[in-house]
Amino acid sequence: MSGALIAFEIVLLLPLFMATWRTSLLGLSLQGALMAWIAFRHGFHLSFAAVLAVCDLVVVRTLVAPMVLHRVLVQQNAPKRNDVIAPNLLSWTFALALVLVAFRLAAALEPAEGDAQMLIAVAVSGLLLGLLVLSTSSGPFSQIIGALRIENAIALLELGSEAHPQSLGIRVGQLAVLAASVGFFRWYLLHDGDVGAPKPEAAEEAPRSVSL
């Protein structure tokens, strides 16, 4: 599992330095694929729960979410470059410091060295880097990337737990919520156009209109 986790960490970090929206989406897709691989290595038994896990990790996280967003950006002819964090030495150093913090935190939470500690470290660094992206970017696309990175980090941490005795209804609900969230992000990117930067706030109050 360590190899997959190291690959996951690289996939988390690379899109921060290679500032194109394609890299960000590829990063998301690879995170989903690596989680699917880790889940497969954990043990795969054909069941409805396993099918749902495949739908979640492979279909939604690896394929649908990145492809849906990719299609919108291609449609809008978005410029190639998209910085998810500020392109300077300070923010890159900060990102690497967050990774170190994640590893220290994992050591505190799981003292025994091994795959379990590594998984926690990678998941926490995914979470912290997702929060970094979310807090330092103002463009809607980058913020969506930040939110989806956080979702993936939580899914990775869940993979490390023993199988929770959750009902299928709960699993279906979680999957439906994720899919609907991706749908909402797509809708917003389609309707608000500008991918890179936020539109200026309206200086004046919107014209008077009748509303509910």
Binding site: A108, L109, L127, L134, P140, Q143, I144, G146, A147, I150, E151, A153, I154, L157, E158, S161, E162, H164, P165, Q166, S167, G169, I170, G173, Q174, V177, A180, S181, F184, Y188, H191, D192, P198, K199, E201, A202, E205, A206, R208, S209, V210, S211, L212
Partner: protein, 477 residues
């Protein structure tokens, strides 16, 4: 069939009521369904006793569920009444009403599930569904700012709820560490002894941070003013008075489980978060000249007071509940009134409005009474609630928090009065012709007002028993 299941029925009725063919009857159908829902909720709240588990243990009818089920459905009845009245006076809103009916019924089914849920992840999913249903409702045609507000609302909510989910994963890990099988059922969790371990500490802090985002607690509060300002008044009332309480119930559930073993758990986080929220909102109230935003900032202030009350627990528990319920009615009254005022004057600037009492007597009256209730004046329930929380601070020897609390409340009072009172009693700035306001249109808000006064003056025994039962689960003595 248990009548509790009827609380989930709006999800099935939503597509029919929101269909194009049903557009002409949508407002009436919405009001009728809301009335039936409120009747069922009140029936369940005051005729059910004890803790019954339904739907394979996923739902519960304990005191917390019953109190909040009645509250959110009564609020929704008021909102549906307002929408019904708006549809009658503004026929051009037919499309908006139809969309509102469809999504708000879905929203209410999910909201009812949240308050009835006996499963942490189940209630989390239902809370996400309320967010997904509310986000499109915030959007108004030809208002790009409302689209941005909707995105911001959804993004913050998603991240907040993701953090809460992460907290649940950590709590499951803490059970594994204790050698137990992870579970998310509230009744099972509440019977387990919880040993202190880092996973549990981190988990509860994350849950607090996640649900605190939904409640609009600082520092994750920046989505709230934009959203409440841009959304139509009926949707703002839905978010501020219904969804707020759903998020609060979710947080209270976690406190109910884990407080039993460790009373001071997250108390510091709750007190600090509460005071920070009050400070942020007070500064914003002083700066703003937009009355809808002012009420939104006051909501952040209220969330802060509630967090402080939950942080103290024990002696303040009853007061917190009184404050929460009063607060829901106050926000519904004020946001619906703000919608009426905006529709009348076409501005949200407090400096451009004056003499409301003469120009729009009902709206002027509701703004006046709502503001007094908002500021915690007697004889409203909010006054009594705030008083109990303050006495809890004194008994808990939280002198610094007490002083800061009183200072911030006093500043909020002055800033709110300075902005709102000239709107009510000042010289009329301009007169706009407007059809006479009817008593029927004001009825939902009058009922809310009556409830506020009743809670402050005389609490009927069955309601009091319900409050006491919920307060006991929060450690009330």
């Amino acid at each position: 069939m248990n009548p509790v299941y009827l609380s989930l029925a709006p999800a099935l009725l939503a597509p029919g009521v929101g269909a194009k063919a049903a557009r002409s009857v949508a407002p009436t159908a919405l009001a009728a369904i809301a009335f039936l829902q409120a009747a069922v909720a009140v029936f369940v709240a005051f005729t059910t006793s004890g803790d019954h588990h339904l739907l394979g243990g996923y739902l519960t009818t304990d005191a917390t569920s019953r109190l909040f089920l009645a509250l959110v459905n009564l609020i929704f009845l008021g909102i549906a009444g307002y929408v019904w009245q708006r549809a009658r006076t503004a026929p051009e809103l037919a499309n908006d009403v139809s969309r509102f009916a469809r999504l708000s019924l879905l929203f209410m089914a999910a909201a009812n599930y949240v308050v009835l849920s006996n499963h942490l992840i189940g209630s989390w999913i239902a809370l996400e569904v309320t967010t997904l249903a509310a986000a499109p409702l915030i959007v108004r045609a030809d208002h790009p700012a409302s689209r941005r507000a909707s995105f911001r609302y959804f993004l913050f909510s998603s991240v907040g709820l993701a953090i809460a989910l992460l907290g649940f994963v950590c709590l499951a890990r803490s059970l594994e560490l204790e050698g137990r099988a992870p579970t998310f059922f509230l009744d099972q969790l509440s019977h387990l002894p919880h040993a202190s371990n880092p996973w549990r500490r981190v988990g509860i802090s994350l849950v607090f941070l996640g649900y605190g985002t939904k409640l609009g607690l600082a520092p994750m509060n920046s989505w709230l003013p934009d959203t409440y300002d841009e959304a139509p008044p009926s949707v703002t009332a839905l978010l501020a008075a219904v969804q707020f309480n759903c998020a609060l119930v979710s947080l209270i559930r976690v406190l109910q489980i884990y407080r039993a073993d460790s009373r001071d758990l997250v108390a510091t986080e709750l007190l600090v978060g509460g005071l920070a929220s009050m400070a942020v909102s007070t500064a914003s109230i002083i700066a703003t000249r937009n009355y809808k935003r002012l009420i939104a900032y006051a909501s952040i202030n209220h969330a802060g007071v509630i967090a402080i009350g939950l942080g103290i627990g024990r002696t303040a528990a009853y007061g917190v509940l009184l404050y929460v319920v009063s607060n829901a009615f106050i926000k519904a009254i004020l946001f619906l009134t703000a919608g009426k005022i905006h529709a009348h004057y076409g501005t949200k600037d407090t400096r451009e409005i004056g003499g409301l009492v003469k120009d729009l007597p009902y709206s002027g009256l509701f703004l006046m009474v709502g503001t007094f209730a908002l500021l915690g004046f007697p004889p409203f329930g909010s006054f009594l609630g705030e008083l109990i929380i303050l006495s809890g601070l004194v008994r808990g020897q939280q002198v610094v928090v007490f002083v800061l609390f009183c200072t911030l409340i006093a500043m909020t009072f002055v800033a709110t009065g300075r902005a709102i009172f000239p709107m009510i009693w000042g010289e009329p700035k301009r007169r706009v012709s407007w059809p006479k306001q009817t008593l029927v249109a004001a009825l939902p808000k009058l009922v809310f007002l009556a409830a506020l006064v009743v809670m402050g003056v005389y609490m009927p025994a069955p309601v009091n028993d319900l409050f006491r039962a919920v307060a006991a689960t929060l450690g009330a003595q």
